[in-house]
């Protein structure tokens, strides 16, 4: 009894103050967001095909994570952040669909890609030769278009698993579905993308030497 009291007293004394805890949490959040923000931006950009809108979506996701989930364990932040971001992307697509329907009424219907400038959206060079940069940019652009054309759930599963590197459980949490659904969406996405990109895709990935692992 005395031992328990003593250990409680020691743990209470070692407990950081509210201010210290808040500062530490803010530093952890800063590190997490700095690590994830660029990939999140590209993922959002591939989904909505517009960098400015993607920046807005990423900022909204950051704010919502900090405001609502900052006190959750840090290992939950990645799936929670992407869940918020994917919800934002879905809302964006819904708004676009409504906007397009309204514009069609006025005879000014447009597709999502009408004003998407591929050159402006392309990344700056990072020490690659112009030929290499051009080839990679073309390959990435083909990949982006193919990924953007995927059904929403397949696109989410593919990008979260491949680009963000989430495992099946984390992807399921981010997508709000079962792990089985993630596997199905991901598998279908991979096969659709391979079929579309076998000529233009990265190194022309083919079907030869397919080997189940």
């Amino acid at each position: 009894m005395h031992v328990e009291s003593a250990s409680f007293a020691v743990s209470w004394a070692n407990e950081p103050s509210t201010g210290t805890r808040a500062l530490r949490q803010e530093q952890q959040l800063n590190r997490f967001l700095a690590d994830v923000e660029r990939r999140a931006l590209r993922i959002a950009e591939i989904s909505v095909r517009d960098r400015d809108d993607a920046l807005d979506l990423v900022q909204d996701a950051m704010i919502k994570l900090c405001r609502s989930y900052g006190e959750r364990p840090s290992d939950e932040w990645t799936p929670l952040f992407y869940r918020i971001l994917q919800n934002g992307v879905r809302d964006w697509h819904r708004r676009q669909a409504v906007r397009n329907r309204i514009m069609v009424w006025f005879g000014r219907g447009r597709s999502d890609e009408d004003d998407y400038d591929v050159v402006a959206g392309a990344p700056d060079p990072i020490g690659r030769s112009p030929d290499e940069e051009l080839t990679n940019n073309e390959a990435m652009d083909s990949l982006e278009r193919a990924v953007a054309d995927l059904p929403a759930r397949q696109r989410e599963a593919f990008m979260l698993r491949t680009f963000e590197g989430l495992d099946v459980a984390g992807t399921a949490l981010a997508m709000g579905c079962s792990e089985g659904s993630v596997k199905t969406h991901y598998s279908r996405a991979i096969h659709t993308l391979r079929k579309k990109l076998e000529e233009h895709g990265p190194d022309g990935a083919g079907d030869e030497d397919d080997e189940e692992i």
């Binding site: 800063n30 967001l33 392309a122 990344p123 991979i190 990265p202 189940e212």
Partner: protein, 116 residues
């Protein structure tokens, strides 16, 4: 079941994706940094706001206590009934207190005589 070439395809797309992430321009990176700082500022704002309801309740309670409870007032002297006063002031009662041993002896004598 994933095939080896599916994994290789995923790996290659990941390489392309990472290159596009590394190639983000300075203006975009700056905008991202500003967005992150704004998000972190809401954390600070939220942690301050968290104490607002508690502080508000405490202040309201303090005000209520000050308004509802009156300050120190003179103690009212309640009228005491005459019977109580007579008992208190009657000389017999005081004499009885002075002869407690006598009344105690009477009580013991009654018990020994079987008087209840």
């Amino acid at each position: 079941m994933m095939k080896k070439s599916d994994n290789e395809f995923a790996r290659q797309t990941k390489v392309l994706f990472d290159e596009s992430v590394d190639g983000l321009d300075a203006a975009t990176l700056s905008t991202l940094n500003q967005a992150r700082q704004r998000a972190l500022a809401t954390t600070r704002h939220t942690s301050v706001l968290r104490w607002v309801p508690a502080a508000g309740v405490a202040a309201a309670t303090l005000v209520a206590v000050m308004v509802i409870l009156p300050g120190p007032t003179e103690v009212e002297v309640m009228p005491t009934s005459m019977t109580d006063m007579e008992i208190l002031l009657g000389e017999d009662s005081i004499e009885m207190l002075e002869d407690l041993e006598f009344y105690s002896w009477i009580d013991m004598a009654d018990e020994s005589d079987g008087v209840t």
